[in-house]
Amino acid sequence: MSEDSRRFATKQDPTKALLRRNGRAPWLELVFHGLCAAVAWSALVVLAVLLFYVTKRGWSVLSWQFLTHAPSRFAHKAGVYPALMGSLWLIGLTILISVPLGVGAAIYLEEFARPTRWNRFLELNIANLAGVPSIIYGVLGLGVFVRWLQLGRSVLAGALTMSLLILPVVIIAAREAIRAVPDSIRQGAYALGATRWQTVRDHVLPAAMPGILTGLILSVARALGETAPLVTIGALTYVVFVPHSPLDPFTVLPIQIYNWASDYRREFHDLAAGAIVVLLAVLLSINAVAVVIRHRFEKYRPR
């Protein structure tokens, strides 16, 4: 038995064994490897620089007062309270609107729709809509919700626009989760005499829940950081109070950041950095929740 075949007989990775047989790498290989590694690791460097820079600038303004006060003409008195609350309002309403629509559409497309030409056309359109720039949704929201439906520059108009924006992503994620549910589960339910709707409600949906929730949370995180469509529908106004109903005007964290960042005074740039730290903290905790939920649900997943 030669050395090579003995290597393959053991449970070693064949690629590694072959590579070893091919001998030491010439210098060009090493240079290429080094170049690839350097570029890839520079992503980490960029992220570190960005986070460090923002935190350093924002640290001085971060305080309890910053979280509980309204923005002000004076930098030392300004805070993000209305923006934080506006973000919560917006996200809450967006979830209320987009979850029934998105999950419903996904269930329809996966479980009920026949693969007709019309349905294929629908699918293609949803995939394409996911790639449309967010500002187009803003222009659309301005035309349909703010002007045509006369909702004004309210939280509701903002939430509707945001729902339009995240719906394609929610639908795609939910469809993939539903498709991953094994057919044996459906057939088992049918064999016991369940109707199609009972099967979907009691078996397919619970099994697909972790995937749906993860997709939803990730799109909500995206909606939280989205600025452009809200600027377009006109949420960029000086708002110092918290919305009390869906028809009140509002501001959100990213817009507050934009507002402060486009100010020419340096101390307002520090405020923007502070608001960025708050926004990133909210986003990170949302992502952490997504991870936890996925873990928890995976325990109950039928095997």
Binding site: P14, T15, L18, L19, N22, A25, P26, L28, E29, F32, H33, C36, A37, V39, A40, S42, A43, L44, V46, L47, L50, Y53, V54, R57, L124, A127, N128, G131, V132, P133, S134, I135, I136, G138, V139, L140, L142, G143, V144, R147, W148, A221, R222, L224, G225, T227, A228, V231, T232, G234, P254, I257, Y258, A261, H269, A272, A273, I276, L280, L283
Partner: protein, 265 residues
């Protein structure tokens, strides 16, 4: 979509398509108004070219490293880093461009204006890099291991396998990621609004202030434009143009992706 078409139709009733695409002065709110869209397209083009120079090679190389060289543990560190980079809101990137990258550029090139195309383009490049890297990585992973092992069995080294076997086999995926990245760069709004400025400018100098199509939309909707005025309609005309560009780019990318998916199943 109908709204977009309708409002744009109202615009083109007052301004001919010839003026929109045939002249080079963009000043819809001034007297006399000019409706040549090219300065805005030029601004967008600068951002797209600049960010492509940053993100396309770097994204590809990052994907090569992740997929072909990196140890499983290295991958477990770098993948989440890229995901976090992809998840950072664009307004944060805009702030970074305006207050960190622009001052840096001004140290290198003193004639740099406070708002300039270069800084925005670099930052848009950083923003789209994770997307390029992750789609390319997927494409590389989809190349069968047997193909690589065949090359190794013929005595190839890793770089040869990557450049002559894996890359050609995954080329359509790489192309699709590039087209999608360009479409993202075209539609990017907050970074260019914050860092590139708001002066329509048909220029060849990336250190000057420019205005992109997206930044124009933001600028017009910031001012209280009365509904029905000509400036209000330009919003939709520019929006429609933007939509058509990104939609066709996405369409092309999907075509490429679908073709490549069929290849190895």
């Amino acid at each position: 979509m109908l709204i977009l078409l309708w409002e744009s139709a109202l615009f083109f009733r007052q301004v001919s398509l010839k003026e929109f695409l045939g002249t080079t002065r963009w000043a819809p709110t001034f007297q006399p108004p000019g409706f040549g869209v090219w300065p805005l397209v030029c601004g967008t083009l600068w951002i797209v070219i600049g960010s492509a120079l940053v993100a396309l090679p770097a994204g590809l190389v990052t994907a090569i490293y992740l997929s072909e060289y990196a140890h499983r543990r290295t991958r477990a560190v770098l993948k989440p880093v890229l995901e976090v980079l992809a998840g950072i809101p664009t307004v944060v990137y805009g702030y970074f461009a305006l207050t960190f990258i622009t001052p840096g550029l001004q140290k290198l090139f003193p004639q740099t204006e406070a708002y300039n195309a270069a800084s925005a383009a670099i930052t848009v490049g950083i923003m789209i890099l994770p997307m390029v890297a992750s789609i390319c990585d997927d494409a590389f992973q989809a190349v069968p291991v047997a193909l690589r092992q065949g090359a190794y069995a013929l005595g190839a080294h890793r770089r040869q396998v990557v450049l002559r076997v894996v890359l050609p086999a995954a080329l359509s995926g790489v192309m699709a990621s590039y087209v999608l990245a360009l479409s993202r760069a075209v539609g990017e709004t907050m970074i260019v609004t914050l860092a590139a400025g708001a002066r329509p400018n048909l220029t060849l100098n990336p250190l000057e202030t420019i205005q992109t199509m997206t930044a124009f939309i933001v600028q017009v909707s910031l001012g209280d434009t009365p509904a029905g005025s000509i400036a209000y309609h330009t919003l939709y005309a520019v929006g429609l143009l933007l939509f058509l560009i990104t939609f066709s780019l996405n369409f092309v990318a999907q075509r490429i992706l679908r073709r490549y998916r069929e290849k190895y199943q």
